[in-house]
């Protein structure tokens, strides 16, 4: 097991380095630097600015500094658009917000999806099952950017129950709509995966044995069926996590929650590459880390896996 974890880490580290290098070189080949403007700067000023940001160094030195800065000091460098802030400030300001509702959505999507999926599988071919299957099939077509306006129309405009945006320190009223919008389509996917895998497990012979020896149904499900049935769900948690991260950009923009997504989109429109790269690398790193955790959890759950 330890050897397996170490091997997985050995794969994860180059992935991260490749991601950083790839992003860095994308920035280099992009036409137009951060200081190209309609009114060209005097050459001396430009040279000074470039020296300030280390752009006068050879490319390899720049990349090495960037990489070392991220790895050792967790420092993504200065922002090109805002003179008084660096990328770390921007991340530190928005990230806690994004992380809060992102994690809540992730937990909601996983628990709700698994719950509905298991319930539908146990009550296979009853009205509950049919409703779950029908609803989740359509809900898969409701991504966050469709759910968000629909929720605002219903709960803010028509009913007036919930505020249409803002954060207010993370009060629960401000959390409900972002969480629902972010998790709906993933509740649907997880429900479908759980349901089909639970059905498959319940049809296998070791469950028949468990029932034959007279175990009560709840024990059959909790003690015997749950663990193998959860394996496909666990491997789907990685993609769910990525979806929460990317979806949070829409939530931040639409609900003005003040998270990192707004800064990301602004930086894309301002061509503030430093912020774009910093956020991309941060999210890429989180993804790699999370996938690592999922793999380890999977190996722990599934005795069939070879280390």
């Amino acid at each position: 097991m330890t050897a397996y974890i170490i091997r997985r880490i050995l794969v994860a580290v180059p992935t991260l380095v490749i991601l950083i290098v790839l992003c860095f070189f994308l920035m280099q080949v992009a036409p137009g630097g951060p200081f190209t403007s309609e009114r060209p700067l005097p050459p001396q000023v430009l040279a000074n600015i470039e020296a300030r940001y280390g752009l006068d160094q050879p490319l390899w030195t720049q990349m090495w500094d960037y990489l070392v800065g991220i790895v050792t000091r967790f420092d993504f460098g200065p922002s090109f658009a805002y003179r008084d802030r660096d990328v770390n400030d921007i991340i530190a300001q928005g990230f806690p917000v994004t992380l809060t509702y992102g994690l809540i959505s992730f937990v909601v999507a996983t628990l709700a999806g698994m719950g509905i999926g298991v319930a539908a599988a146990i009550r296979h071919n009853t009205w509950l099952d049919y409703i779950a299957v029908g609803a989740t099939f359509s809900a898969q077509a409701l991504p966050n950017f469709v759910m968000a306006p629909i929720l605002v129309i219903v709960f803010t405009w028509q009913l007036g129950w919930l505020p249409g945006g803002g954060w207010n320190g993370g009060q629960w009223q401000y959390l409900i709509m972002p969480v629902i919008a972010l998790s709906t389509s993933y509740v649907a996917s997880i429900t479908r995966i759980t349901r089909s895998s639970m059905l498959e497990t319940l049809n296998s012979s070791f469950i028949r044995t468990a029932r034959a020896k007279g175990l009560p149904e709840h024990k059959v499900i909790w003690r015997h069926a749950m663990k193998p049935a959860m394996l496909p769900v666990v491997s789907y948690l990685g993609p769910t996590f990525v979806a929460m991260i990317t979806g949070s950009v829409v939530i931040d923009v639409y609900f003005s929650t003040g998270g990192i997504g707004r800064a990301y989109v602004d930086s894309a429109l301002n061509r503030d590459y430093a912020v774009m790269l910093g956020v991309t690398i941060l999210y890429g790193g989180l993804t790699v880390l999370f996938n690592l955790l999922v793999d380890v959890a999977y190996a722990w759950l599934d005795p069939k896996i070879r280390y």
Partner: protein, 320 residues
């Protein structure tokens, strides 16, 4: 056969009539056509009401994007100066004014814009899926068929690429170069083939030790020719299924980027951009601005899901 004894009388008559027809056909020397995998799949698909219904819906959407522009009296960028002052009132959907879907926030005709947006989404979806099919199938088939360290290196590369949040890479590409259709296709093409290559590789592994491949090898056929002639045709079923399921995913990716305002540039538009614009004006009493694009978005995506599901049931024996 014990089953046929219990058959009712009429069915027996029917049976004999059918067998007589077959005997007749045989007597006349006509060949009886066998049922191929594809014919079987077609029968199964046609029996699936939901999938056929979805296919019809999809067909209607496609026809609408082709025929629709002929009925449009406004172009996508023309501003109706007369009505733009009171969009919530004069800009409502009406047949008289020629704005069948009403006006958008700037006074442009939403009918023409919705058609263009739907077309953009469909084209992006289809091209993304095509890229995935071509690159993913070849990559996966080569990796699976060649095997050994080549396979190892190729699939590790996919592992690395797949764990990068691709939405950010597409946005990065779109922003750093130009925001155009071309860049959008490049960005989507870069990410869409990864899953496909994994699926295809798995299938290839199970195919490559079959007798017909051995026969081809013995006959001296080159490796690459074997992949193209013998492996790829046998993969088509699964490839078609996943390609159909990829189309809605590609549409979702494109709409997501457009919603953020980082997609195709004005005056061109796409469903994500229209939903975003409509969502921004929701509180000004212009519900049609969001209802029209969401309607087309949902119809397209849900139909594609149903068609893909139907195709999977028809073609992929594993899930039946």
């Amino acid at each position: 056969m014990p089953g046929s004894i219990r058959k009712s009388g009429t069915e027996m008559v029917h049976r004999t009539a059918q067998s007589e027809r077959i005997i007749e056909a045989l007597a006349e020397g006509e060949a009886i056509r066998g049922r191929s995998l594809w014919e079987d799949a077609k029968r199964r698909f046609i029996r699936n009401n939901a999938a056929v219904g979805a296919l019809i819906c999809l067909g209607l959407v496609v026809i609408f994007t082709i025929v629709g522009p002929f009925f449009s009296t406004w172009s996508i960028e023309e501003i109706d100066w007369v009505r733009m002052g009171d969009i919530a009132g004069d800009g409502q959907p009406s047949i008289d004014s020629g704005h069948y879907f009403g006006l958008d926030g700037l006074g442009r005709d939403l009918y023409a814009r919705t058609i263009q947006a739907t077309r953009t989404s469909l084209i992006v979806g289809v091209i993304g899926a095509l890229v995935a099919v071509v690159i993913g199938t070849l990559y996966g088939a080569v990796a699976g068929f060649v095997g050994g360290w080549v396979d190892n290196v190729m699939m590790r590369a996919v592992d690395v690429l797949i764990s990068i949040p691709y939405m950010f890479i597409i946005i990065l590409l779109m922003v750093m170069f130009e925001r155009s259709f071309f860049m959008l296709f490049v960005g989507i093409g870069i990410v869409s083939w990864l899953d496909m290559s994994r699926i295809v590789r798995g299938q290839t592994l199970s195919l490559k030790n079959r007798e017909f491949v051995e026969a081809a090898t013995t006959a001296g056929v080159g490796r690459f020719t074997i992949i193209l002639r013998h492996i790829v045709p046998n993969l088509l079923g699964i490839v078609v299924v996943y390609a159909t399921l990829l189309v809605p995913l590609m549409i979702l990716v494109e709409s997501f980027i457009s919603f953020l305002g980082l997609g195709v540039q004005e005056p061109n538009t796409s469903l994500g951009a229209l939903i975003s614009e409509g969502a921004g004006t929701v509180l000004y009493g212009t519900p049609w601005q969001i209802a029209c694009p969401i309607f087309f978005f949902l119809v397209t995506i849900i139909s594609l899901f149903f068609v893909g599901d139907g195709l999977r049931d028809a073609l992929d024996p594993k899930d039946r």
